[in-house]
Amino acid sequence: MDAATWGLIVATFVACFVEMVEATTIVMAMGYTRSWKSALVGTFAALGALAVVTVAAGYALATWLPESALQLAIGGLLLIFGLQWLRKAILRSSGRKAVHDEDAIYQEEVEAAKAAGENKGGLDLFAFMVSFKGVFLEGMEVVFIVLTFGLNADNIPGASLGAAAAVVIVLGIAIALRRPLSMINENLLKYGVGLLLASFGTYWAVEGIGIFRDGRESLGWPGHDLMILVLLAAWLLLSRIFVSALRKPAAQAPAVAGDVPVEVKK
């Protein structure tokens, strides 16, 4: 396997890992407080819906769009996703935004599940719908990332392999521990994914502008794929500069680690 394929697998693995941790927290909260059967039915229904979306969108994108249009459209969207993640990572690292906390999110889901009242039918609709929605929404981002990375690198199997490995590993950890995966440094992972998405997104979106010139040929970066590493270094450097510049003064920062505000809203 070459370096580009490894990069593709690592990028989709980390992105999928983060989303899977969030989806697992929601399903576990429903399973432990409401009904495992309904939570799992909702999970598998969402996975089925995601599979249909993946096949349909993948076929449509690969069949109907010329390469440069594909690079521009999905590279542009990937860039927007990546910069959104990077923005949040910068604000969290500089203490200007609450950090993401799986334990807090789990508690919030448990409270909502208890407040929803008892279920009298066979299938607990509350647990089903919350699990379905959680897995589907988190999964949509993974589907999008797998499709964009896979189509642009012309290696859907490689991208899918990275995502599938993340699903297996997160589920394995969740089943072994039987509690929310709050020990995973999700904020750091999201920072890394933001950097990857921003770098690949910049590379492809800029290439794709070539759709508007004669011949509809993609623009060519100097150094080709190696330029992605340069872009990665540039985004990392810029983000560190922003974190340093935006860091709140000691007087305004939380006194101890335990006082760091947490984000419970998705």
Binding site: L83, R87, T202, A205, A234, W235, L246
Partner: protein
């Protein structure tokens, strides 16, 4: 109508997210790059480097707007 509104809201949340300025920054950077390409200012190397720089600058401006001190 309610379904259409929810459908639209889902895609808005999915693509634009909680900071619309990022999406605007990306679109503006690509529009300027398109204008430079149409004007025939540079070759491929110059255009791609300009594109990368434009995205970085546009993101920096959107973040600077985001964290600017609020007026009391």
């Amino acid at each position: 109508m309610k379904f259409l509104k929810a459908f639209g809201q889902f895609w808005y949340d999915f693509i634009i997210g909680d900071d619309w300025k990022i999406a605007v920054a990306v679109v503006l950077a690509l529009v300027v790059l398109f204008a430079a390409m149409t004007a025939g200012l540079f070759g491929d190397t110059g255009l791609t480097l300009l594109g990368g720089a434009l995205v970085v600058v546009a993101f920096s401006i959107s973040l600077a707007i985001d964290v600017r001190p609020k007026k009391r």
